[in-house]
Symmetry: C2
Subunit: 641 residues, 2 copies
């Protein structure tokens, strides 16, 4: 009967959309295993299979058909780097089973500055990933169905809203819901790649394509080291999203390390194998990158699929699931970002609501802010965020590098266990750190004029914001800190001021409550609140008869009635004047202002009453006079039902 939740329409709608409010004790049953972990956290990595090799091949276009031969040489270091990252994060998850994100690891080993650098780089990366991922997915859909062209932004925002909603329901829900497209995507491309490779091997490396890819021009340029390095760097974008598991370890059920490891292993293996397959099939079937802006554009994966199995059912299943994976790749951010923000907020660098588990035991504030930032980017760039892609690998590689440097420090400071094992672990992380740092520098140099410089401005700004939030909390904490034990020298009852509009039952209830709190009760009646033409009721006689006389007969001090004109038709201005006089009259006493308030329970009641009580309370609270407290005396309007 007391449960006001679900009492109104909005609450009921929230219940339908987000599901019922979960209890803390249900937390364990809401944790995920590897089956849900792979779709929840792997969408970004799997989507990378589409654009990583494509980005590398696009760099090779000036070389023409001769460029295809380099695909293996470009993919090999990427896969090696991926293997190093895998080992590195494997160790990180074991070393920091509660949270192995770059922020936390850097904080433990490198100090606050580096951890904030990693945090802001990663936060920016996550926001960009949402915008870029959705925009790429919707872009692919729109190029397949040109009728939707003019609704691209609306579609982007719709997909964003959907992903946001599902993640507000919980990571478990998103993992389960997205399992179908993700596993279908993996299976269908596995089938295509196996068929393609078998055909290639059985034909001695020169298979006949079912549908031939468009011919590739003879190149005009020779391969240079810088061009190949840029191609590697471009291909490295395939690795973004690998760190998501380390940030999301908290989502796994016990034993968290086991499920974290398993999920990471599946994601990285699938990603690595697919990249290797693409690298083998591209030169075998002579598939090149096409200009996205020209009509007749086909993506690299689409060309490979058509060449290997023709444009049948498998082709369409593969491409449709690829579209879903691209559009939903934002989900990885929705798993990682809120958990990252939570740890940052626990340290006081982000507002406290980010650290609070919401209705469904996920950190709703982080989810909502991520969605808002991404929506803003999508709206500003009108749903076409290609130009943000350069920015986006920088955040990921910054956090990779910081995270691995931190792990090097971690192993250096460790003293227990096998020293040889520690040395191996340390060298893996050291090699990884050098490799990702090199990739980061190449990306920044190569993409500097294309927008990478923006990151170099935004990251310091975010760090400054985080630091200023921390400073603010420190100041508030210092002010609120307990100075001394409870002081009991001033425990006289407060002087009670009761707002009396008329002598209704509600007003008498407030007066009676005031008399139970203190012997000193002053009733304040304001006139001309309605305007200059208000008729003034003769309240004083009634007051004597109904309040003062009964009080005297009960041998109690009769409450005083103060009448005052409200010149400007506000309640708080004359009331604050009266409070000031009372404060002077009763030094060292606190003052309790009693405000009778009608409680409206139906929408039409809300329209039919003035909100004087509520407004007065807000005004008085805003003044925050340390000697004044505000007492709300509720009175329910019976709805007659």
């Amino acid at each position: 009967m007391r449960n006001t939740e679900d009492s109104n329409l909005a609450a009921r709608a929230t219940g339908v959309l987000l599901g019922r409010r979960l209890a803390n004790r249900e937390a364990e049953s809401r944790r995920i295993g590897a089956f849900e972990g792979v779709p929840a956290m792997g969408l970004d990595a799997f989507g990378s299979v589409a654009y990583g090799p494509e980005a590398a091949l696009t760099m090779l276009v000036p070389l023409g058909a001769a460029g295809l031969a380099y695909m293996g040489w470009i993919t090999a270091p990427i896969i090696a780097l991926l293997a190093i990252l895998f080992l590195s994060y494997w160790q990180t998850i074991r070393a920091y089973p509660n949270n192995g994100g770059a922020y936390f690891v850097a904080k433990q080993n490198l100090g606050t500055s580096m951890s904030l650098f990693a945090a802001s780089a990663l936060m920016i990366d996550y926001v960009l990933n949402v915008a870029v991922g959705i925009s790429a997915g919707v872009g692919a859909l729109v190029s397949a169905m040109p009728a939707l062209q003019s609704h691209a932004l609306a579609l982007c925002l719709g997909v964003l809203a959907l992903i946001t909603l599902i993640n507000l329901r919980g990571t478990l829900d998103s993992g389960r819901l997205f399992a179908l497209p993700v596993y279908l995507f993996v299976l269908s491309f596995a089938a295509i790649f196996v068929i393609g490779i078998v055909k290639a091997l059985s034909s001695g490396g020169h298979p006949a394509p079912v549908v031939a890819p468009p011919p590739i021009d003879v190149g005009a340029h020779a391969a240079g080291a810088w061009l190949l390095l840029r191609a590697v760097a471009a291909g490295c974008t395939a690795m973004t999203g690998v760190e998501a598991v380390s940030n999301g370890v908290g989502a796994f059920r016990e034993p968290q390390v086991k499920y974290g490891h398993r999920t990471l292993a599946i994601i990285v293996t699938v990603l690595g194998v697919m990249l290797a397959c693409v690298a083998y099939l591209v030169p075998a079937y002579r598939v090149g990158a096409m200009d996205e802006t020209l009509p007749g554009y086909q993506s690299v994966l689409a060309q490979i699929a058509a060449a290997a199995v023709g444009q049948g059912a498998l082709y369409y299943v593969a491409l449709i699931t690829l579209l879903c994976v691209l559009a939903l790749s934002a989900n990885t951010s929705f798993v990682g970002f809120p958990r990252l923000c939570r740890i940052i907020a626990c340290d006081g660098f982000l507002p406290k609501p980010f650290a609070q588990a919401g209705r469904r035991l996920v950190f709703s504030s982080g989810i909502v802010w991520l969605a808002l930032c991404a929506a803003l980017l999508l709206i500003v760039f009108d749903g076409i965020t290609n130009r943000l892609i350069p920015l986006f690998a920088i955040g990921a590689f910054s956090s990779f590098t910081v995270s691995q440097i931190a792990m090097v420090w971690h192993w250096r400071s460790q003293r227990d266990g096998n020293a040889a094992q520690r040395r191996i672990a340390l060298s893996i992380n050291a090699v990884g750190a050098c490799a990702t740092a090199t990739a980061l520098i190449v990306i920044i140099v190569a993409k500097f004029t294309e927008g990478a410089w923006i990151t170099l401005i935004v990251v310091p700004l975010v760090i400054a914001l985080l630091r200023s939030i921390r400073r603010y909390y420190a100041r508030v904490e210092q002010q609120a800190a307990r100075a001394q034990p409870l002081a009991l020298y001033n425990v006289q009852p407060p002087v009670v001021v009761v707002m009396v509009e008329d002598l209704s039952r509600l007003a008498l209830k407030a007066v009676s409550l005031g008399m139970s709190l203190s012997p000193d009760v002053i009733a304040v009646h304001l006139t001309h609140v309605e305007g200059p033409d208000t008729e003034v009721e003769a309240l004083r006689d009634e007051w004597e008869a109904q309040v003062a006389d009964p009080a005297r007969r009960a041998n109690r001090t009769a409450p005083r009635l103060v009448t005052m004109t409200s010149q400007r038709r506000t309640l708080h201005e004359p009331l604050l004047k009266i409070v000031g006089k009372i404060e002077a009259e009763f030094p060292r006493r606190t003052i309790a202002v009693l405000i009778p308030e009608l409680v409206k329970r139906r929408w039409y009641q809300r329209a039919l009453h003035t909100y004087r009580g509520r407004r007065l309370r807000r005004r008085l609270l805003a003044v925050a006079d340390p000697r004044m407290t505000i007492v709300s005396v509720p009175w329910k309007v019976d709805d007659g039902s």
Copy 2:
């Protein structure tokens, strides 16, 4: 120092837009005379000069050139009716100097049902007038500048916002601001009409037009009585807005009757003379109504002006001021509607905020609601509200008729003064009532299929709404009515429940306040509010040391500390459970829940804190347990400045 007004940006913006908050004592200086009254209340009537004769002439189109001859016969009864209305409202203003609107007069003489009928007819009329007036003005502007065509709705809403804003500043402001276009309009058309009439008279009734109006077809039909009657009825739309003065008498300075009479006289005289001039000039210069939907359309007034003085400076001044008058004709509604609503609200048939003088001593609620309703109509009809015109005269003529019938009853019940004068007054109102009733019937019959039937549905609905509002207030009043004098049998101090999040200075302040209110203080500390993984602080030992021990040493009952887990991370659910237990433990005691609350004064503070205190207070108020009061203990976050 205590003034929280103007403390933030929004308040300052309001100050700039609406002007400073006026004191009740300034009311007299805000009242208007006839100079401001004519623009404030006359805009609708003056705008009618444009569309009244045009509507009548449009009816005559089937008669062709022969129809022009009837213009005098059609205008004569309209002017006669106008004269009767003038006399009638002249008497009404004198008889009801405080408010002479149809609602009030009908209430005094005919009872509630008729007064509600008049009120709802008039309210609908006012809303329609705003939408139709603005849409007509913007329509004329758009047809002059076709580049604006696609922005018609935005222009309509912009004009509406402007008129709303100016009226929120006060009737005086609107009267002063609109004086220039109104008087310029009257003067320029007076000049045109005088020149036109002089030319016509001097040429023996057949003047040579400076710019000849487009030729008129020879008509195919003969004039029938029904057609002429419909033309009169159509022309009667020119009279809407005449009642505005009677509704707005409250806006005039003392002596109100004198300024009301003067304003009414000016408006009606100008309107009548202009109608007569148009009626004379139309056949003289052979001006006919043109089809508005065809290119090359010119309004009747534009044709007359061009024929009389040519398309020079005077022509353009006249047409531009006409455009302003049309677009601003909505202003009449903004003067009448809020004052009408105010009297209805005083009687309890409309929500109470309608009766409250706002910041600038006008009834802001009525103004805002009028604007919202009109905006809704404009948006629904996409800024083209021609089809609403038939509806709109019905409201006006219904209220004319009711008002005059009421005046007949008024004179019948009068006993003092000169009986012969009363008889004359009575017969004027009786004739007026018959005439307006006839016009009303003709309009309803003629326009029934064009939408007049909608009024017959909407008016009863509005009446039902007004009555249900009254019933609701009666029920609330009955519930709140004082049953007996102050009961003092239960004045034990309340049991105090203090929400304690930690042992900060703020929490200790709340505990100390609680102990000043009652010997029975129970502190409630909820854990796991952040989520299942929250670390639980060891509050109990601290509590003993900082609160319980000092209390015992001061020979006071030590407050109890109750710790409870919030399973669903809400504050109100566990708290209400505890309150339930306390209510059982202490029957007949009230319970005061103390909520410490951080007061945020800067926008960034708002973003950085949780709103737990505020949300908890809202939830507890919504429960409206009659034994529970909520005490807010404010604590200001120092902004460090």
